[in-house]
């Protein structure tokens, strides 16, 4: 009985050991629960890496094929907004990290504050992104919707961009149409990233409500920590998107 599994088949009443309410019954200990969910989160992020990996591969191959089109099309992106958004996300990562710290330190007020700040910064990112999207819409740079490659056939016609990049030469027509590929990938990649932001913000909303009820400041911080991982991951994706789409071969 004492040493082995055979005891499993004999009828012994199910003994419940004392454990905190947040410990799920199928875990042996809180540590195991934290370890398992944390590990699961990392694995999930790994699947996300593979998911974005497919997009990055497509982008790099197409960029290699249609280099001039991709360079001139990238000049259409507003580097100011892009930098601002990068800043916003980096700060939001900081506030998120502070949120996790507050939860660990069981400071409810600070947790709510930092989660709310993160929420606001996330919304700010989406706001800026939508300004950028709107710009593309106005200039007919949304693939599939009144698309026009006029800015690339005749860069001088696009005064705002041309004054910053006077070296841009008109693209040959067969190359100019490839800028649509750039914008397709731009929208696919930033859109997929924005979708992750929207999901993140939705979960944040839910977390702020729960934090007000004190759910995360009673010692059980797994949820906050795992969400923090997700949030940092989404930031890191942007850290790769920003140089790839905005910065490289700008001059």
């Amino acid at each position: 009985m004492s040493d082995s599994t055979a005891s499993a088949s004999s009828a012994v009443a199910d003994v419940h050991h004392e454990h905190p309410a947040y410990q799920r019954h199928h875990f042996e200990s809180v540590e195991q629960q934290f370890d398992a969910t944390n590990f699961a989160m990392w694995l999930f992020l790994l699947t996300e890496v593979m998911f974005f990996g497919g997009l990055f591969t497509a982008y790099l191959i197409m960029r290699n094929w249609y280099y001039p089109a991709f360079v001139e099309a990238s000049h259409q992106l507003n580097i100011g907004w892009g930098t601002a958004n990068t800043g916003v996300l980096i700060v939001s990562s900081f506030t998120m990290a502070m949120g996790v710290w507050s939860a660990e330190m069981r400071k409810k007020g600070m947790l709510i504050l930092f989660l709310s700040l993160t929420w606001i910064l996330g919304m700010a990112f989406l706001g800026i992104k939508s300004i950028e999207y709107h710009e593309k819409w106005v200039k007919h740079h949304v693939p599939g919707f009144h698309w026009s490659e006029a800015s690339f056939l005749n860069p001088a016609s696009d005064v705002d961009v041309h004054k910053d990049y006077p070296q841009d030469k008109p693209l040959a027509p067969d190359m100019a149409v490839k800028t649509e590929m750039y914008f397709f990938l731009y929208f696919a990649m930033t859109g997929m990233h924005a979708l992750h932001m929207i999901i993140g913000i939705s979960i944040l909303t839910f977390m702020i409500v729960r934090a007000r009820q004190g759910a995360y400041t009673a010692g059980h911080v797994t949820y906050v920590e795992n969400f923090g991982l997700y949030w940092h991951f989404v930031d890191i994706i942007w850290i790769f998107l920003f140089p790839l789409l905005y910065l490289i071969s700008r001059y």
Binding site: L171, A172, P173, D174, M175
Partner: protein
């Protein structure tokens, strides 16, 4: 036994008597491919027999009734190494043998005669250099290497001749090649083996292998009058390619004489061999392939020339061995301003409207 169903009887008589179990070998590579195939069959049979012998043998020897108490054995490094190394060795033999065969099938000999194949939903169009056009059929002579340059104008297709043991994907937007040398006159199946939509199973045809004499007769009897290069020349003139590629000292485009298979230096600095694929790309996506010293002014012909048109142009350029022929085209067409060049492409589909070119 007397009451066998007539339907069944008919079936038995009709098919069981004579249905093929092995495809004909009608090319030089077929026998080589089959040699490897039979080697693999042999290895597989030995491997399978071994597994079956072990399973059946052990089942009999060590069935519970005969061998009530199992002897626990941890494993055996020697045995495990054996069945790691022997299969690995055999697989590597197959790999090397297969790779040699693969390189043979996909590396055409220099003296091969080239035939163009265009796949589209759901037919095969074959263009001989002499201007013979075929649909869902391919006539080839025995005893002569034939290279197929294959392309698709819509979706993936696959050009398969089982009797020759060759097959090659027809890919939209790029040329692929395969070659064979037919050995036995006869008619063989031609299949599209890559699923390509509704009538995929109708995208079939016949490969007719003829003796060289018969083939010559067939070529003479099915010519449309102009060779593929002549079609190309006409297209070259009607699309006003000669407005720039005209060999004059002030020409805006490079001379195309002897350009085929030469090394070109592009404006990006890289060197590239002007093969079929390059010529095709240079016509359809010119700005990616600017020869050094020239401005990127050539318009694209993407969507304006059919794949057959591109093939005709490529064939024409391949056969340009001097500037003389280009100058000839200048005599027959007026120089059209460059901007009109693209519009002239509309005429590409109806060469009859163009002036006759004197050979």
């Amino acid at each position: 036994m007397d009451h066998i169903s007539p339907v069944l009887w008919q079936f038995l008589e009709k098919w069981l008597g004579h249905f093929p179990l092995f495809p004909p070998e009608a090319s030089t590579v077929a026998a080589q491919s089959d040699a490897l195939f039979f080697f693999m069959v042999l290895v597989s049979l030995v491997g399978l027999t071994l597994v079956i012998l072990l399973l059946v043998g052990f089942s009999i020897l060590y069935s519970k009734s005969r061998h009530p108490i199992a002897v626990q054995i941890e494993g055996s490094t020697v045995l495990e190494a054996t069945w790691t190394i022997i299969p690995l060795g055999l697989f590597l033999i197959m790999f090397v043998w297969g790779a040699l065969l693969y390189f043979r099938i996909y590396t055409p000999p220099a003296n091969a005669m080239n035939i163009y194949v265009v796949g589209k939903q759901w037919m095969w169009k074959v263009e001989h250099p002499g201007g013979q056009h075929e649909i869902n059929a391919l006539h080839v002579p025995t005893g002569r290497p034939v290279q197929l340059t294959i392309i698709s104008q819509d979706v993936f297709h696959s050009f398969s001749i089982p009797a020759f043991r060759v097959k090659r994907e027809a890919i939209p937007g790029r040329y692929t090649t395969v070659w064979f040398e037919a050995t036995t006159p006869g008619t063989y199946h031609l299949f599209c083996t890559q699923y390509c939509g509704t009538n995929h199973s109708q995208m079939i045809g016949d490969v007719v292998v003829m003796t060289p004499d018969d083939f010559k007769k067939w070529l003479a009897g099915s010519t449309s009058g102009d060779s593929l290069a002549q079609d190309g020349e006409r297209l070259f003139a009607s699309l006003s390619c000669n407005a720039c590629h005209n060999t004059r000292p002030d020409a805006r485009g490079p001379s195309l004489a002897n350009v085929y298979n030469s090394q070109l230096t592009l404006s990006s600095g890289e060197t590239i061999t002007a093969d079929d694929a390059y010529l095709r790309q240079a016509i359809l996506n010119p700005s990616q392939h600017i020869t050094q010293g020239y401005a990127p002014i050539m318009p694209t012909y993407q969507g304006q020339i059919s794949e057959e048109g591109v093939i005709a142009l490529v064939e024409y350029i391949k056969n340009l061995d001097s500037d003389y022929r280009v100058q000839q085209t200048l005599n027959t067409t007026d120089l059209v301003p460059e901007s009109a060049g693209a519009k002239a492409a509309a005429g590409a589909q109806s060469p009859s409207t163009q002036k006759e070119v004197k050979p």
